[in-house]
């Protein structure tokens, strides 16, 4: 039976955990929860370590563990009651929002991102923060490419509805047409 290379795993954690944590944070929107999520995903990665032959595979495995574990946790709704919400600005109809520049827009957009269903949010983070292809995103989420397309499209559509048509969410070459 293959043995676990603890030294290599330790190096992997040191090298990749900051990036993995940032992705996890963007997906869940909470520092503590993201830390728990990455800790759990790294544990799963360590268990699978003997069959992950290179760091690239290990990182993809951990990323997938983050997304699937998060969706699983979300389904159980156990974490939702504990999730701090005091940093979220008051919400309101788009028409009542005053545009005061990009900072306000980003704060507002961050809030709206957090209100998206978890799979839409995960797909958007993987596509537009991690810059994964649709196929890579599908692999990370454990779903079909078509599901990624629909989740991203629905998420972007909802953000546009909330943010207003005058906000440029994406560069024109990455516009989602649905």
């Amino acid at each position: 039976m293959a043995q676990r290379d603890t030294v290599a795993f330790t190096e992997f954690v040191a090298a990749r955990s900051p990036a993995l944590f940032r992705t996890a944070f963007l997906i869940v929107g909470d520092h503590g929860l993201a830390q728990d999520l990455v800790q759990e995903a790294l544990t799963k990665t360590y268990v699978a370590w003997p069959r992950l032959r290179d760091v690239g595979k290990a990182e993809a495995y951990t990323r997938k563990a983050i997304t699937t574990t998060y969706v699983s946790w979300w389904r159980r709704k156990a974490w939702r009651a504990e999730r701090p919400r005091d940093d979220v600005p008051e919400s309101g109809p788009t028409t009542q929002r005053e545009h005061c520049g990009d900072v306000v827009d980003r704060t507002w957009l961050w809030q709206e991102l957090q209100s998206l269903p978890p799979r839409q949010r995960t797909a958007i983070v993987l596509r537009y923060y991690e810059d994964l292809t649709e196929a890579q995103t599908a692999d990370a989420m454990g779903c079909a490419v078509g599901t990624v397309k629909s989740q991203v499209a629905q998420g972007i559509k909802r953000l546009r509805e909330q943010m207003g048509a005058d906000v440029t969410l994406l560069p024109t070459n990455e516009l989602v047409v649905r």
């Binding site: 603890t6 800790q39 790294l42 360590y46 699978a48 969410l169």
Partner: protein, 383 residues
């Protein structure tokens, strides 16, 4: 211009201080999880293996009906009547796979054992049922869904609870369809773990049941209805009994055990085997013992202590669960670890023989799915 979405994501990500991850804690948790999963999948001890659902088409009985109390029938409408032969056996949901014969029992099986006359199984609410190939009937209730039966014969034993909650040890005879013993004990409730040192039925062997009461480890002779305390202080646990041989552990003063031993007298235990098995199964004559030590199954010749483990090629993990006879052992095997993997049932020859696939892909191994596979060892595989 990268767009507001990417700018927002980057700003939020970069604004977070990365926490330090405790690699020692992660690796310790991973090692612990691996040990527990493998042990639980293979030998029914503890922990957190999970087997995903594997749906087997429900078979129709001879009258063409199904349901909770419908009669049962085998594959191709073969009605099964007696079960003296031991075959590679497992159950998924409400279907017992007895060799090539499938028996729909009408209920999801939590745990089950085989006697010469029937299969006895528990359901989630603790009810104990008997299925004789013609139909199923409720015959009792178990406090912890654990059943014990001999390698041959018709006796099954379990722990029930009286109305006031104290344990009662039950012995049921599947040939007469009667409860032949119900023994009260005023100790604590049914044990979930051997280490609890609570009420626990360990084994049935040659007309006797072995259990732990407040008086210690007890042998109950079913024919005479008499009990004999084998070890007064219950300073140990019995893992299996076959042909008068005990596979047992002796507790040390620190609460740990000094390894697994095979002895004929608990008061004068034999030296421990080289491996500190969590679980073990004696062959019917106690000539061999198979056990799992975390990651590996080892089979010993009890008399010579020689390792006689059969060749298990092509499987990353395999664990013994039952002897069909003194030279044939059944195991479950998983070819690759991680992700969702098929589970095969293996039939292995001892000493130092080979393993062949008795049934392939009977269920799947997964990290997070529900448990639906049951093996004829009398308890849930994730206990």
């Amino acid at each position: 211009m990268t767009g507001l979405l990417k700018e927002t994501l980057r700003e939020q990500a970069e604004g977070q201080q990365t926490p330090r991850f405790d690699v020692d804690a992660i690796t310790a948790a991973g090692d612990r999880r691996t040990r527990h999963r493998r042990a639980a999948v293979g030998s029914l001890a503890v922990a957190a293996v999970a087997l995903t659902a594997f749906t087997v088409p429900r078979l129709l009985d001879t009258a063409g009906t199904t349901g909770a109390d419908a009669p049962v029938a085998g594959q191709g409408r073969e009605v099964v009547g007696a079960f003296t032969e031991r075959r590679p056996t497992y159950a998924v949901d409400g279907v017992i796979h007895y060799g090539r014969t499938q028996i729909a029992v009408g209920r999801t099986i939590e745990s089950f054992v085989q006697t010469d006359d029937a299969f006895v199984f528990t359901t989630k609410n603790g009810d104990v049922w008997l299925c004789d190939g013609q139909g199923s009937e409720r015959v009792g209730h178990s406090g912890n869904s654990r059943l014990r039966a001999d390698d041959t014969g018709s006796l099954v034993a379990w722990v029930d609870a009286a109305d006031d909650g104290h344990p009662q040890y039950v012995v049921f005879d599947t040939s007469s369809r009667k409860e032949v013993a119900r023994v009260d004990d005023n100790a604590a409730g049914p044990s979930r773990e051997p280490e609890d040192r609570g009420a626990e039925v360990f084994a049935v062997d040659d007309g006797a049941a072995y259990w732990r009461t407040q008086d210690g480890l007890v042998r109950y002779d079913v024919a005479t209805g008499t009990s004999k305390v084998l070890q007064p202080d219950a300073l140990g646990t019995i893992v299996d009994v076959a042909s008068g041989h005990f596979a047992h552990k002796v507790w040390e003063s620190d609460g740990g055990s000094s390894g697994l031993r095979v002895s004929t007298d608990l008061e004068h235990p034999a030296p421990p085997l080289p491996s500190g098995y969590d679980n073990a199964v004696l062959s019917p004559s106690a000539r061999y013992i198979s056990g799992d030590d975390g990651d590996e199954t080892t089979v010993y010749d009890v008399a010579t202590r020689a390792v006689v483990t059969p060749g298990i090629e092509g499987y990353a993990f395999a664990a013994a669960y039952a002897w069909l006879d003194d030279r044939t052992l059944t195991m479950i095997g998983i070819k690759r670890l991680g992700g969702v993997q098929p589970i095969d049932i293996l039939e292995c020859t001892v000493p130092k023989g080979r393993c062949t696939v008795a049934a392939d892909d009977v269920a799947t191994y997964d990290e997070s799915g529900p448990v639906t596979l049951a093996l004829p060892v009398g308890q849930r595989i994730d206990e």
